[in-house]
């Protein structure tokens, strides 16, 4: 519940962004993000909402932890929380 998960914006339509989470594309709401986002931006997401546009050049460091978890320990408690965050977003429409 304290966790935010980073993802790459691939499309924006109104207040909905299509965000790529390690190959899985999901819809994320942009109602509360702190700055305008465009394809190519990374955003931090929490329960289906983008809460921060991650400054360019800083996304890499933010992604490392999540990539390691999702790659190495798919059934781990923390990895399951990350998966829950991704599941909180809507599927493609």
């Amino acid at each position: 519940m304290c966790l935010g998960v980073p993802g790459l914006v691939v499309a924006v339509e109104g207040n909905v962004a299509t965000v790529d989470f390690w190959g899985v594309r999901k819809q994320v709401l942009l109602d509360v993000v702190d700055a305008a986002v465009a394809p190519g931006d990374y955003v931090l997401n929490h329960v289906g909402f983008a809460i921060r546009r991650i400054p360019a050049g800083e996304a890499r460091a933010t992604l490392e932890l999540y990539e390691q978890m999702l790659r190495d320990m798919p059934e781990d408690l923390m990895a399951l929380d990350v998966r829950g965050e991704i599941a909180a977003t809507e599927g493609p429409r």
């Binding site: 109602d31 931090l44 929490h46 289906g48 933010t62 390691q68 909180a88």
Partner: protein, 380 residues
Amino acid sequence: MSVSPDASERLRFRDPAQAHRLAAVLARTVAEALAATGSERLAVMHVCGSHEQAIAKFGLRSLVPAALDVIMGPGCPVCVTDMPEIDEAVALADHGITVATYGDMYRVRGSGRSLADAHAEGAPVEVVYSVSQAVELARTSGREVAFFACGFETTAVTTAAALIGGVPANFSVLSAHKYVLPAMEVVAQLPESRIAAFLAAGHAATITGSAIFEPFAERYGIPVVVAGFEPLDVLAALVRAVEAIRDRDARVFNLYPRCVTSAGNVPAQARLWEVFECETGGWRGIASVPAGNIRLRETWRAHDARYRFAHVRPRGAAALAPDACICGTIMIGRAGPVDCSLFKTKCTPQDPVGACMVSSEGTCRIWHEYGGLPVLQSTR
């Protein structure tokens, strides 16, 4: 269950050399801080389940000098949800109102039953991942849906945004949202508190900004370090916290600038406070926290389950949590899971007694998963 040797092989810092350098700096700084303050031990408290996950998962306590206690405080919003709040949700479900809530909350007991218990007895309960899914449930089913909303300010922002974005008349919110800063004050004010610094949760601070902690740091003379979730982020934040203790420098330090600014996410704060206000109320294990509960403003009463269903009252309180359960003491950082006689024996993730064993952010649940002991698992 501790992490298997096989897993520990793979759980490496992406930069082990830097981790060991930071650990060496931490050891030296702790020694200096002990000398400077004339203390035998130091305690730093964090208030975030995700921090505890990272600390336990990556075995960070093994890199921390024995004289430094890294303690989890009231950082699990599900765990601090008060039993009467859960009783309210269970009463709504018993009354035939569909209660939607996050999975972590589903199995936490109130003074009697959990939502899962009510569900098993036929009451309408749905687990959702987001407020949007609860709104969608109300829209498609046409039923009365009450979203039992928990979480700190980061999560409360999304509940607020959903209400502002427009919800059907049959959707309401039963808010158990909590505001973490007042709980830090309660801990700081505890008699004989030995917390010398706090780590603030990076993603909550993404919303609130780091400046919000400045009056707290000044009033209590306790430094606050905003920390990220990478193992190196946490280690670096501990070093900064101990430096500040050593230097008696009770300011706010932002060590997570890639996600946290001084002012925070201002548009999100505007939405949060347009919908919600803070009220004094109970937190499980901590008693009453001044301005610690986030509640709907009067203007949103049409969607406030407490007013919409004011006639639904919880049944008389049943037995309280067993005397042996020390969740409350654990949540204020005065005990650890291993101090509890029920831990791993009578209280397990499969059959939890206290809230700390239910949520993936509860201290007991995390220590049950990762061991929690200072065993070096992540560097070689």
